[in-house]
């Protein structure tokens, strides 16, 4: 029984660490202050759900989910290309709200606030992934491949350009690099992997509704990334462990769920504020938030 519980926890940690690492790629490495990252997660979840429920094989569903999310990443950069600093950040938050609105209102597609339940478990080449343990393997494999790829990207010469874009975009342009295109690529990749994470989420929880992809979750991933530190993959993964384990530890206090819910959020908020005030680089970050 403890086993089952640990497996459940690890699956969620796996999914959210991919979400955090993909955000860090855009935010920590490239300096794109994207508060709307949760929208890519939601888009991935809905697209994968709708495709698989329409009979599309899971492997194609998850890939298309990522691609669709990537498309929205492109659209976000396109829409906000003239904005800077906090206006850019605020616009990305607005983007998250607009996407949330779409989830809520395109009821013929998304069933609006009712959400979609009965999302099927994946089936890969005929092999049904219907136990939690096998789902954990799936998550570990997908997340490991994804994190490996992201890690390759940030260590490559292109990855260096991402960081240069963050540090001084003008200086980089004057060295002959097309920083607009660099930013597009960064956001598309970031969104792609968030979409993949969204698909994993949907097929595990088997029920999604718009409220999973709203403000509270924006703060959750932001807290994880800031706690772990900017521009560190390891930091985001470890921070995901910490942040997701906290509510589990709280369970031992045997408090009613009406208290646990808000208490959890309060702890996240306090961690976020605490890191900003006293340790702005987070646990493993080497870069200041600008």
């Amino acid at each position: 029984m403890i086993e089952a519980y640990l497996i459940h926890l690890l699956i969620l940690i796996g999914i959210y660490s991919l979400l955090a690492v993909s955000l860090n790629l855009a935010l920590g490495y490239t300096g794109l202050i994207n508060f709307g990252h949760i929208a890519f997660f939601g888009i991935g979840a809905y697209v994968s759900t709708l495709l698989v429920m329409a009979g599309v094989p899971f492997l194609i569903g998850i890939l298309v989910a990522g691609l669709f999310a990537g498309l929205f990443g492109y659209l976000l950069v396109l829409a906000t290309r003239k904005l800077k600093g906090d206006y850019f950040a605020f616009a990305t938050l607005g983007f998250a709200f607009v996407v949330y609105s779409l989830f809520l209102n395109l009821q013929s597609v998304t069933r609006g606030p009712l959400g979609i339940s009965g999302i099927p478990k994946p089936s890969i080449f005929g092999l049904a992934i219907n136990s939690n343990f096998s789902y954990l393997i799936l998550v570990l494999v997908v997340v490991a491949i994804s994190v490996f790829l992201i890690s390759k990207i940030v260590k490559s010469p292109f990855g260096r350009l991402l960081q240069a874009t963050r540090d001084d975009e003008l200086a980089l342009r004057v060295l002959g690099k097309n920083t607009s295109r660099i930013k597009y690529k960064a956001m598309i990749i970031s969104a792609f992997f968030a979409g993949i994470a969204g698909s994993l989420f949907a097929h595990y929880i088997t029920y999604i509704d718009p409220s999973s992809f709203y403000l509270g979750d924006v703060i959750l991933i932001l807290t994880i990334v800031i706690l772990g530190g900017l521009a560190t993959i390891r930091g985001s993964i470890i921070a995901t462990f910490i942040i997701l384990l906290i509510p589990e530890l709280l369970r031992f206090l045997a408090l009613p769920s009406s208290i646990l819910g808000p208490l959890r959020q309060i702890i996240y908020a306090v961690i976020l504020l605490g890191v900003l005030l006293y340790r702005p680089r987070g646990l493993f970050g080497g870069v200041d938030l600008e």
């Binding site: 616009a91 208290i259 504020l273 938030l289």
Partner: protein, 293 residues
């Protein structure tokens, strides 16, 4: 015809509420040059304070109102001194302050939920009152009060900014902080006052909204978003602009659901927010040169 009138009145009421939120937010932005996203939470906190004092403790209503307003000012001041000021001292960028404000929003809203619970509460001061009929459109006395108080407040705010020393100091600091400091104005003091005043207006908003609607802990988020949208539409650094922008939002929402299903009401605000941020981030009445990047 009376439908049009009803929608207009509804727009006026919604606009007044949003304008109350936007005015405080804009005042704070104008003085401090960053987005205090947690402002909506101050509104909620105020509403719940009044609920606690009046409905739970049974304190006389108007005494409760005064105490609530004092509390709102206090919360605003604390938020500034404990979170924003230390960050500013460390030369935090606007983005960091924005993230901090998001954290504060979640913190305050969940504190409210922790203490009061997530169920819906009402402040039963007025009881069920029949609406008045004006040319076929219905408006309740409280709604008239909301519109009235808003207008009085905005006129008062206008004179405050123009005629009082504090108002002029605030305007000086918003126009050119360095110059103001050279002229002997204490920036920290003015910034603190901006939070006190902004939160006072938020307190008034919280009280009126608390009387008009039911209270839920998360209503601050949506109110905050609507207030910001109004401020962005009008011009976030201009208090009159933010007020006008909020009324425009109120009308846009209420006329909008004439054509769209009513579920799209919030979506109208989101879309307008996004569109204005993309195409007219300085708002309809924003100054051309704001010295912001």
């Amino acid at each position: 015809m009376s439908l049009l009138l009803q929608l207009t009145i509804n727009g006026l009421i919604a606009g007044s509420i949003y304008a109350l939120v936007a005015a405080g937010f804009s005042l704070i932005y104008k003085t401090n040059k960053f987005m205090h996203f947690a402002h909506g939470a101050i509104v909620v906190v105020s509403a719940y304070i009044l609920f606690f004092l009046f409905s739970t403790l049974g304190i006389p209503f108007f005494v409760g109102v005064i105490l609530t307003l004092l509390f709102s000012c206090l919360v605003g001041l604390i938020v500034y001194r404990v979170v924003y000021l230390p960050l500013q001292k460390k030369k935090a960028s606007n983005v960091i302050l924005l993230i901090a404000s998001l954290g504060l929003l979640i913190l305050l809203e969940n504190l409210v939920q922790l203490i009061f619970g997530a169920d819906v509460k009402t402040i039963n001061y007025l009881g069920i009152v029949k609406g008045l009929s004006i040319f076929g459109a219905i408006i309740t006395p409280l709604q008239l009060v909301i519109i009235g108080v808003s207008i009085v407040l905005f006129v008062g705010l206008f004179y405050f900014m123009k005629k009082t020393k504090l108002g002029k100091d605030i305007r000086a600091v918003s126009d050119n902080r360095e110059l103001a400091e050279v002229l002997g104005i204490n920036y920290k003091r003015i910034a603190s006052w901006s939070f006190v005043l902004g939160s006072l207006i938020a307190g008034i908003a919280g009280i009126l909204i608390g009387l008009e609607q039911n209270l839920t802990p998360t209503m601050g988020t949506m109110l905050g978003i609507k207030g910001f949208t109004g401020a962005i539409i009008g011009g976030v650094a201009s208090v009159p602009g933010s007020i006008i922008g909020s009324y425009l939002l109120g009308f846009a929402e209420n006329y909008g659901i004439w054509f769209l299903p009513s579920g799209y009401k919030d979506a109208i605000a989101f879309v307008l927010l996004f569109l204005f941020l993309l195409f007219m981030p300085k708002g309809l009445f924003g100054k051309k040169k704001e010295g912001r990047e």
